[in-house]
């Protein structure tokens, strides 16, 4: 009964939405963006919007990301640590991890720094750096790396990055200051913030004792 009702309901929703599509095409003209991108010193239309004309949205988005990570931290912390995760015995994996780490970092920095010219930007760069870091950490033994990247130092760095980003962003909006240097700075800051966020969260998910 409930199943049938649910499916009927969703089918209705699907029908309405598909009906709406019939009237949707062709969409409105694309507004010329090249001028605006040039004004911000960007070669990438998307980057010029994300970091330029709609920078304020991006600042709020960074806050959303940071706060969700804060939430994850406060939710998982009371659960306590998981017992020492298994570390692979073979040295090859560990050595590969040592070689891969700089490659991943360089790639992430490249993505962040060239985000205003081509595809890329701070968020994907941070995601790649953060998850790469954790993968390697798992290969090397997570406890070792998390001792080195201590939360006591990461937390001020994270909040500091956000504060700098907020102040810089709002000032650039207010003073109408533009330029590709600013975009690179934003992307790098966002990259740092997302890297820290992703690392901390993945690390929490990996090492905190949840169920069982």
């Amino acid at each position: 009964m409930k199943r049938a009702l649910t499916i009927a309901l969703l089918a209705t929703l699907l029908g309405i939405l598909l009906f709406g599509l019939t009237d949707l095409f062709p969409p409105a003209e694309v507004r010329p963006w090249a001028e605006m991108a040039r004004a911000y010193g960007a070669g990438n239309g998307v980057a010029s919007i994300v970091l330029g004309s709609r920078l304020y949205d991006t600042l709020l988005e960074v806050l959303v990301f940071a706060l969700a990570m804060v939430g994850v931290r406060y939710t998982l912390k009371p659960l306590g640590k998981w017992r020492e995760p298994v570390v692979p015995e073979r040295g090859v994996v560990r050595e590969m991890a040592d070689v891969l780490l700089p490659v991943i970092i360089v790639f992430a920095v490249y993505l962040a720094a060239s985000g205003h010219l081509g595809p890329g930007g701070g968020f994907p760069a941070g995601a790649i750096a953060g998850s790469g870091l954790l993968l390697l950490a798992m290969a090397k033994g997570i406890e070792r790396l998390s001792r080195e990247l201590h939360e006591g130092t990461l937390e001020p760095l994270e909040y500091g990055t956000i504060t700098v980003l907020l102040v810089l962003g709002c000032l650039s909006i207010l003073l109408n200051h533009r330029g590709s240097g600013l975009l690179v700075a934003f992307n790098l800051l966002i990259g740092i913030e997302v890297t820290i966020g992703a690392w901390v969260v993945l690390h929490y998910f990996a090492s905190h004792r949840g169920e069982i």
Binding site: G45, I49, T75
Partner: protein
Amino acid sequence: MAAQIGTVLGIGLVFLGFGALLLRRSLIWKLLGLNVASSGAIVFLVALSHRPGAVPPLSGYPEGTPSADPLPQALVLTAIVIHFATLALSLAYAISLTERFHTQETERIEAASEEEMER
């Protein structure tokens, strides 16, 4: 044509995701459904940015070639991050709840948490 296909796919994914959200009983599966539904909304927006024969919104293409609309793509970049953030938070909540009640069935979790509140 590509844009139409994309929009239909987006709406289809929303449908699938909501279906899983409503019909599955396990919490983690519900969250997986929510994830699919939100990726559907993203596909929908990306498809709307496309124009026939369009190139990516990057400079360096010859003058006069039609380009895709950068704005929906910019929105989508934001939306992807937001969806990830809420997903991570909800998974953390799910872990914390399963830790306490040792089940993932939403009905049982709900009943158990009501019971806990009465105490």
